[in-house]
């Protein structure tokens, strides 16, 4: 009798949970909410949730790269604001072509991402401190450019970036899917991706194996800047307004999506699908709590507790597998 294990003690189950634990949590969550409020899984609401998470998901991919190298990128919120006011300047004030404006605005956030990366990688400064500082600098630049004022982006062509659909699917979901595929390939199929995990896992071993730590880290923050920029374009199109006060505290949801998706703050551990699942969970928490009439005063507490439990569960399961 002693060799007869309960099903949750078998190796197969642990392997399964180790890989898909967070997905099981998500499905459990969806199931519970849907039983209590069937409209939660109506197709229109599923599309709604996926559209809502697109901004956070893109930011979270960049955040995930930063965290995987052992750092963090706190400058993503102001990056949204920078893109937004630049788009306002280019499209509304200078009447420039929308595509060109977007490329220029993305170039700016990518540059700031690169500056983050250089400061962190070249001078070996703490990522938390560097991005905390550049967060202030970027926010300030956005305010200087916009003079603190909001600007209406009335152009329908620009608004369609967010509100348009492709065969019935809202465009933000398409962007998210495309970038998810790219991020999966970058993180799990390329040399760069392996370098990222190597640098985060054990930086000395990475150096000894000939990994260019500077470029690996710098590129991670550069990508984070670019992704935050793309998120900013979607954000600006969504609200139809270019302003410098947006994106406050957006880094917290991105970090939450990363840790829910199994990204380790110790560095070296993360998966692209995990981040996507994390973002979906965050979206389901927000949307689901509203559907379940959970009072707003309780929502943050609920969110905090779910994150702690999900990560705790993930750690307990994975500890036994490693």
């Amino acid at each position: 009798m002693s060799e007869k294990k309960k099903f949750y003690q078998t190796d197969e189950f642990r392997m399964f949970m180790g890989k898909y634990g967070i997905g099981v949590i998500l499905i459990f969550m969806i199931f519970v909410i849907a039983v209590m409020k069937p409209r939660f899984i109506y197709p229109s609401n599923i599309l709604n949730v996926l559209t809502q998470i697109s901004v956070n998901c893109l930011i979270a991919y960049g955040m995930c790269l930063a965290i995987t190298t052992g750092g963090i990128d706190l400058s993503v919120g102001p990056q949204l604001a920078l893109v937004s006011v630049l788009l306002g300047q280019f499209i509304v004030v200078r009447n420039m072509n929308i595509g060109l404006s977007i490329i220029l605005a993305l170039a700016a956030t990518t540059l700031f991402g690169f500056i983050n990366g250089v400061l962190i990688a070249k001078f070996n400064m703490a990522a938390f401190v560097v991005t905390l500082a550049t967060q202030l600098v970027i926010r300030s630049i956005a305010q200087i450019i916009s003079d603190g004022k909001g600007m209406s982006m009335a152009s329908q062509a620009f608004k369609d970036i967010y509100s348009g659909t492709l065969i019935g699917v809202p465009l933000p979901i398409i962007y998210m899917v495309v970038i998810s595929v790219i991020m999966y390939i970058v993180m799990h199929w390329t040399k760069f991706g392996r370098y990222v995990f190597a640098v985060g896992g054990n930086v000395n071993a990475a150096i000894a194996s000939g990994v260019d730590v500077f470029w690996t880290k710098a590129l991670c923050y550069t990508i984070s800047g670019l992704l935050a920029g793309i998120a900013g374009v979607i954000f600006t199109s969504k609200t139809g307004s270019a302003q410098s006060n947006i994106g406050v505290a957006y880094e917290t949801d991105a970090v939450a999506a990363c840790v829910l998706g199994g990204t380790s703050f110790a560095g070296g551990i993360s998966t692209a699908p995990g981040v996507l699942l994390g973002a979906v969970i965050i979206g389901c928490i927000y949307n689901g709590m509203n559907f379940l009439n959970i009072g707003s005063y309780y929502q943050y507490m609920t969110k905090g507790i779910i994150i702690i439990f999900a990560v705790l569960l993930d750690m307990v399961i994975n500890k036994k597998n490693r």
């Binding site: 099903f7 078998t10 197969e12 189950f13 399964f16 898909y20 997905g23 099981v24 499905i27 969806i30 199931f31 409209r39 899984i41 109506y42 197709p43 229109s44 609401n45 599923i46 599309l47 709604n48 559209t51 809502q52 901004v55 603190g148 004022k149 909001g150 600007m151 209406s152 608004k159 509100s163 065969i167 019935g168 699917v169 954000f235 969504k238 609200t239 139809g240 307004s241 302003q243 947006i246 406050v248 927000y286 949307n287 509203n290 559907f291 009439n293 959970i294 009072g295 707003s296 005063y297 929502q299």
Partner: protein, 364 residues
């Protein structure tokens, strides 16, 4: 074995969700079809200049059963959504509290079937746009929204109006509130600014210098209250404005401003006009502490702290923005719409000058 069971379960759930996604084109359309058809009869009334969505449909509404009066999306239930501006600010806590009490009582007496609870807009226009989508999917018949921004929150109002929801904009208007919303309930901030300007002119003999502590630049309340001040005291030849100081609605910044301008103007400084009364009460407290009780400080909102000071006599007056009145006016509009009565398109709730004479009416 167990693994297979779990896998099978997983797979079935995935397939279910896939089919749900895949059929979005058709079934999603079908799901939303009643939503767009039901209000169609009332839609002309809503989109045209007619003030009430149901005003023109009154005749038809009489033919309908009483219950379907407010059931705009035809799902058999009347559901009201409430998208707050935030749940942290003192002034908005008053509004949210008033809404909660009133909507709970409407559920209790059966006027509406349910409401969403206070949805937290987090002072974030994008978050409000997300909440608007949540309300559409809930599905709400009426939604009260307190916009965070005049332009950036506008897609929330228009998307809900497009989905056939009766949108009630409360407190401050968005760009297309006039055309898209069923009603707007708010106050005229220019009038509040004028009340402050006139109060200072009446209570300080001979004029002098005043300083204006502003809210966050670009907020409609900041702009319009400033306009009211410009209309009154700034036109008076006896008064000079030392400066407009951006204080971001923040009491501590107002105190710093008072210190700066006291140092600069000394006895010539006679008044401090603030865009809200968190700032004016803090400014007055600072003046009093420095032995300058003669300086008149006044602001807008009617928060409990400043009201308490008016009661104690340490603050001369404050301009009460009747937040609870605004929310209740908005909810009145919904009730009127459900009953098929005419809904006023624009409901202006007056500001009240609170002095020691009438403070007891407003102090809780």
């Amino acid at each position: 074995m167990k693994k297979k069971v779990v896998a099978a379960l997983l797979a079935s759930v995935m397939v279910m969700s896939l089919t749900a996604c895949g059929s979005s084109g058709s079934s999603g359309g079908a799901a939303s079809a009643p939503a767009s058809e039901a209000p169609a009869s009332e839609a002309p009334a809503q989109s045209e200049a007619a003030p009430a969505s149901e005003a023109a449909a009154e005749g038809e509404a009489a033919a309908d059963t009483a219950a379907s009066g407010g059931d705009l999306n035809g799902d058999g239930k009347i559901i009201v959504g409430y998208i707050s501006k935030n749940t942290t600010d003192v002034f908005h806590a008053t509004l949210n509290g008033a809404a909660e009490e009133r909507l709970d009582s409407l559920v209790a007496d059966g006027t509406i079937d349910e409401w969403t609870g206070i949805l937290d807009g987090n002072t974030d226009a994008a978050k409000q746009c997300d909440l608007a989508q949540d309300c559409i999917n809930y599905p709400c018949d009426y939604v009260i929204i307190l916009p965070a921004e005049s332009t950036a929150s506008d897609p929330a109002v228009t998307s809900m109006a497009d989905a056939g929801i009766g949108v009630i904009v409360v407190n401050s208007a968005t760009d297309s509130t006039d055309s898209a919303a069923m009603a707007f309930a708010g106050s005229d901030d220019v009038y509040a600014g004028e009340l402050m300007g006139n109060y200072v002119m009446e209570h300080v003999e001979g004029g002098g210098t005043f300083v204006h502590c502003q809210g966050i630049i670009g907020n409609s309340a900041q702009i319009q209250r400033g306009e009211g001040i410009a209309n009154t005291i700034e036109k008076d030849s006896g008064w000079t404005k030392a400066a407009d100081v951006p204080c971001d609605w923040d009491a501590s910044k107002a105190v710093n401003t008072v210190d700066d301008y006291l140092a600069q103007y000394g006895d010539d400084l006679k008044a401090v006009i603030c865009d809200n009364d968190d700032m004016s009460s803090a400014a007055q407290a600072e003046c009093n502490a420095k032995g300058r009780e003669d300086i008149v400080c006044i602001g807008v909102d009617g928060n409990q702290g400043p009201l308490q000071m008016v009661k104690e006599g340490t603050l001369g007056a404050t301009v009460l923005q009747d937040g609870a009145g605004q929310v209740n006016a908005g909810i009145d509009a919904i009730v009127a719409s459900i009953k098929g009565e005419t809904v006023e398109k624009k409901i202006i709730v007056p500001f009240v000058l609170v002095t020691p004479d009438n403070v007891d009416e407003y102090l809780k």
